[in-house]
Amino acid sequence: MTEAHEQARSAAREPSVDPATDPSAGEVFDADIHAKAREVIARYPQSRSALLPLLHLVQSVQGYVSREGITFCARHLDLSEAEVSGVVTFYTMYKRRPCGQHLVSVCTNTLCAALGGDAVYRRLCEHLGEEGRPLGHEETAGTPGEQGSITIEHAECLAACDLAPVLQVNYEYFDNQSPDSAVELVDALRNGDKPAPTRGAPLTDFRSAELQLAGFFPDDSEQSRSDVDAPTAAEETVRGARLAQDRGWTAPAMPDDVALPEVEQK
């Protein structure tokens, strides 16, 4: 392949209809978002690999993946809308309905459920819902996008079983929750407060978190450092490792060439 040829092939990745002027992509995404999309795409050797971060980028604008958002990604990545839509509907982190200012995810998987996660979830649904009509999964209290609006969901294991029951606000951890502490937390959120998570970065809001998931961090480097450097591991999680360190325990080395065990002939 010649260079020009290669250029042509990669130009294929340039959408043939300029998404920036394509009205079917709507006016929702401004020039800055288009520029950001191109930046994300440039990170990957194959443009289609950029789909997941691009969908987060779209959520950072609208708080969910709208039809326009799907078209936006499809055009930027030279994918069909059906392909994008398939991905969007597969992963739970992509929301098909507008989210509130905050997304509250309550873990109801095995360990959390056993230790009270189900109760936390039920309480929050009732608390955020109306009299006799509790909120359901992925429903929102308040007007989506507005200050203090909250979308609730039940989540599968959030990988913090040692701190169960846990919940997340915009994917930041609040460990060892109880129904009461959870209610207190969402009330604070509704009031416009941003209580500090148990660990990790300070709270922002759903859309800002989505922008970070797309790979864009606040310009202010101080702030992004603290986001990235904030302690993410809890004492409970590292206790075992620490103990081993103190006592000088190590695991035996993993040999490279172990024969697979015999399997009974079928």
Binding site: T2, H5, A8, A11, S16, P23, S24, R67, A82
Partner: protein, 968 residues
């Protein structure tokens, strides 16, 4: 450095090809490396059940029905598992069978009951049910089945039942990989997963183009055909299969109609495996055949009653559309075809003898009075080769007149003129499928996804396999979505663009000097002309930036194999011949003719444009392009036909109309042609038709043209006759009779023969086969072809050995057809369109076709599927222009040119460029050709359909005109 040429699609078996030897069920077999276990087993005659796999698609291995034991820890899916050396495969063990049985139980548990299964109750070939029967899996009661997933009946001809779907992904591969439509995907996860159209939209509201490929892919009842015209979908064994060819476009897809003899209708159609279309079809071929069963078919000969003279238009539509009386708008019907109730009373039924006698007498009288110049005949590119041949023979021998033409004049006459002059032959130099061997393909002036849908599926597929596609068109048609470079030039600036590209090719010295020296003439002149078109200048004229022009030049110049496909956006200009000349030069200076993956291909519109031209429906050519003014050729035909022939070239379609107005042509015979809607400047056509002393129209429906007829002869539709048709690839295929003509309607070739006999010609053909034999004698290109050796998939011409070969794909491998064997390069200077936009008429009008419709819509608007998908006329306008003009999507607008005006709905479309408006010309109630200009190309005599100036004004929604086209 040039690109290495990719191997042709079917590489020859080289001796060093690596093979693998393995054992399947104790039998040893050696297969080429890469063969799957499933394929190898099949070669041994061992059938392994499969659900998600079908040889038409890449295997994905999602259903696990085809598992076999390879001695590994887990069973292997044989449809995706490549054979390995010394592999020992057992295709059936108790464990394997158990695995398949359990899988079947799991799949069957939430399927619709077989008494209600959409497939089992129609075609009765549900593959899952067949597997279930093999494994004795009847009802499974003790398994959980989740909530129903629903049905979708939004598409007029395809039913979706999500509960019958087993998520085998066949439809996804059919839609994406085969047709390249990219509509179907999956949505959701786990039990809730379903197939989804676009953004999980209803099928009818999605971007689905109803090609039906997914239906033919689906193994279960999830995607099925709905009945059309109340003819139920039935098992194949109960139906009569007729192998024929699609009646619509030049792609000429081979298909099979499954006919319900009892009810006298077609149940459904299926694509057939022919080297060109490879079983694919588009919406017109698969679902658009019911027009022939329309109750509006003409079934009796008709003669105009005395009270209907002097002649003029008969329907209020045609009268008042003319703008001659009143404001020319009131009283118009909101859609539909010729109103029979208005027109029929002006005719009386007659016997065939009376009608044919009258035709022969009147045409004979006019010939006696005015001589050859007084008569003209228009054939049609919808007619078979045999009909076209007989028709021109009739006009040429009975009336000694070369005034015989057909609608190629309106589509590719300029391309053909340029090709004759340049390479000595009007046909394509390679096939549409040959794009697979091209490194680079230019597709230009062609909305191929709409007009040559199945050919375009091969274009899209080639791109996925690495061919670079450059799309050059003023409209961002769907092809643009599949192009590597889309170059949206201003309408009517093609010559400037190609000159600019060639300028750059020469500057970069990417010229193939050997080819130029050995195989072309006049290169210096060409080089001198394009010298004056540096990319910057070309950029100014075309609106394409100079960088893109340079890039195209480099890519084209460096391509190892480059091919150009073009459509009417090239030919339908006053510079149509020049446009095509540029394309010929583009290929010639880079040596891109005569090898696989290279060449020139004007995509033919009608199913038989190629054949009708081959057969001599051209005023300057006898059959096989033997020049009417060449005395040697003339003598040949005089000898064959036994009469003296007229040495003067005849008049073209457009010239005939002018001649009628001047009192030249007085009598006309129209065979299946409706110049009323398809000619530019309808008002002039109307006047000309009214002025004719005698007009006989032979057609299957009342057309606008028939309103002016003295005699109307009820003809047979495509489905009611035998004959051969030649597609855009030069593939000659046999069309076969599906039904008898309705009522007294007759087969066209017999009608022509009856008239010939009454005019004293002693014709006595007994079948189209005999006509074909006579043609082949006179047509060197068709040499060796016979009805028998055309077989079921037809043959390409030229064909030295049709008994064994499919025919010649690539022409001109060592010489061109010109007298000196060289390609003649003809330089062209850019000229602007004839009617540039100005203050009063600021927009450029472009006309063309929609996927669902055909020409004047007389067939497609009588098809249930096609009419329901695209029922109304719309003007396509850029959103920016729409905003400026105050037009809204779905609102109405009046479009006015210097020649007429029409009113129609607006479609705001990002596919248009600013300043342009596109109107399809199928809709009589908003006939685009009321607006178009009748300026013609000086060489090809083709009208400038693609360029005239118009004004657009919003119209307040009057009594909210209904959208549908009433066909009453």
């Amino acid at each position: 450095m040039t690109l290495t040429h990719r191997a042709p699609a079917e590489p020859e078996q080289t001796p060093e090809q690596r093979t693998v030897t393995l054992t399947i069920d104790g039998r040893s077999i050696t297969v080429p490396e890469g063969t799957t276990v499933w394929q190898a087993a099949r070669e041994l005659g061992i059938d392994i059940p499969a659900l998600c796999h079908d040889e038409r698609y890449e295997p994905v291995g999602v259903c696990r029905m085809c598992v076999v034991d390879t001695g590994g820890r887990a069973f292997a899916a044989s449809c995706v598992r490549p054979c390995e050396p010394d592999m020992e495969v057992t295709t059936s063990t108790p464990e394997v069978e158990q695995s398949r049985r359990v899988l079947t139980e799991l799949l069957v548990v939430d399927q619709p009951e077989r008494e209600h299964d959409p497939k089992q109750t129609t075609t009765a070939d549900n593959e899952l049910i067949a597997v279930a029967d093999d494994y004795d899996v009847i009802g499974v009661d003790d398994l959980f089945s989740g909530p129903a997933k629903g049905t979708d009946h939004s598409n007029p001809v395809i039913a979706v039942d999500h509960d019958a779907c087993i998520l085998c992904d066949r439809c996804v591969r059919a839609c994406d990989d085969v047709q390249g439509n990219d509509v179907i995907g999956r949505t959701g996860k786990g039990y809730g997963s379903r197939i989804a159209f676009d953004l999980n939209d209803p099928m009818g509201a999605s971007s689905c183009v109803t090609c039906g490929e997914c239906v033919s892919a689906c193994p279960t009842g999830a995607l099925t055909n709905k009945p059309i015209n109340n003819i139920p979908i039935q098992p194949k064994e109960q139906l009569d299969a007729v192998d024929t060819v699609c009646p619509y476009c030049g792609v000429g897809c081979a298909l099979t109609y499954y006919v319900d003899r009892e009810r006298g209708g077609i149940s459904y159609a299926e694509g057939r495996d022919q080297p060109g279309n490879q079983s694919r079809l588009c919406v017109k071929g698969r679902y658009g055949w019911d027009y022939a069963a329309s109750p509006q078919r003409l079934t009796t000969p008709l003669i105009r009653v005395d009270a209907a003279y002097p002649k003029g238009p008969l329907s209020a539509d045609v009268k008042e559309d003319s703008g001659e009386d009143g404001d020319g708008k009131r009283g118009r019907k909101p859609g539909g075809l010729v109103p029979y109730e208005e027109v029929m009373p002006h005719f009386r039924e007659a016997t065939w003898d009376e009608a044919l006698d009258l035709v022969a007498r009147r045409l004979g009288e006019i010939y006696a009075e005015s001589g050859s110049d007084g008569i003209a005949g228009f054939g049609s590119a919808k007619c078979s080769n045999e009909e076209g041949y007989l028709f021109q023979k009739l006009i040429r021998t009975a009336f000694r007149s070369n005034n015989v033409d057909h609608c190629t004049r309106l589509c590719h006459a300029s391309s053909v003129a340029a090709l004759f002059e340049g390479v000595g032959s009007g046909s394509v130099s390679t096939t549409y499928g040959d794009i697979a061997n091209a490194d680079v393909a230019i597709i230009t002036g062609s909305n191929a996804t709409a007009n040559h849908p199945v050919a375009s599926s091969f274009f899209k597929q080639a791109r996925r396999d690495g061919t670079t596609i450059i799309y050059i068109d003023p409209r961002a048609g769907t092809v643009a979505d599949h192009a590597d470079i889309f170059c949206q030039l201003k309408p009517g600036t093609d010559v400037a663009l190609y000159n600019g590209i060639m300028h750059e090719i020469i500057r970069l010295d990417l010229v193939d000097h050997d080819f130029v020296a050995d195989r072309t003439a006049n290169y210096e002149q060409l080089a001198k002309t394009v010298e004056a078109y540096p990319p910057e200048l070309a950029a100014q004229i075309t609106g394409v930036d100079a960088e893109t022009i340079r890039r195209i030049a480099r890519i084209w110049g460096e391509a190892g194999a480059g091919v150009i496909y073009w459509g009417m956006g090239i030919s339908q200009h006053t510079t149509g011949t020049d446009n095509a000349r540029c394309l010929i030069a583009m290929c010639s200076i880079t040596g891109n003719v005569g090898r696989p993956g290279t060449g020139l291909h004007p995509l033919r519109g009608q199913n038989n444009v190629q054949g009708a031209s081959d057969a001599g429906l051209i005023p300057m050519f006898y059959p096989n392009y033997q020049s009417a003014s060449d005395s040697a050729a003339r003598q040949r035909f005089e000898r064959a036909w036994g009469v003296q022939l007229n040495p003067n070239n005849g008049l073209t379609v457009t010239e005939v109309m002018a001649s009628v107005l001047d009192g030249g042509v007085r009598g006309m015979y129209m065979l299946g042609e409706n110049p009323f809607l398809s000619d530019p400047n309808i008002n002039k056509v109307r006047k000309a038709l009214a002025k004719l002393d005698f007009l006989v129209v032979q057609d299957i429906f009342l057309t606008e043209t028939a309103e002016f007829a003295d005699v109307i002869l009820p003809a047979s539709s495509y489905l009611e006759k035998d004959g051969t048709y030649t597609n855009t690839d030069r593939r000659v295929q046999r069309g076969r009779t599906v039904f008898d003509p309705p009522g007294q309607a007759r087969v066209d070739w017999q009608i022509v023969q009856d008239i010939a006999q009454r005019l004293g010609l002693g014709w006595d053909y007994r079948s189209p086969r005999e006509v074909f034999e006579e043609m082949v004698e006179l047509m060197p290109d068709y040499a060796n072809l016979t009805y028998d050796n055309l077989g079921s998939t037809g043959k390409l011409y030229p064909n030295p050995d049709p008994e064994h070969e499919d025919g010649t794909v690539v022409l001109f491998d060592d010489r061109f057809n010109t007298s000196d064997g060289l390609a003649h390069l003809v330089p062209a200077e850019w000229l602007p369109g004839k009617e540039l936009p100005d203050e009063e008429y600021p927009y450029v009008l472009n006309t063309g076709r929609l996927l669902e419709h055909w020409h004047t819509g007389s067939m497609t608007r009588r098809s249930y599927a096609l009419d329901s998908i695209a029922p109304r006329a719309e003007a396509y306008v850029h959103p920016g222009d729409a905003a400026e003009l105050g037009l809204t999507d779905g609102g109405r607008a009046r479009v006015v040119s210097r020649r007429g005006e029409i009113e129609l709905h607006v479609k705001v479309s990002h596919r248009e460029a600013r300043g342009n408006v596109f109107i399809p010309f199928h809709f009589r109630e908003a006939a685009a050709n009321l607006l178009t200009i009748d300026e013609i190309d000086p060489t090809g005599k083709i009208p400038e359909f693609k360029f005239c100036a118009v004004r657009i004004v919003p119209v307040a929604d009057r009594e909210s005109a209904p959208a549908g086209g009433s066909t009453a």
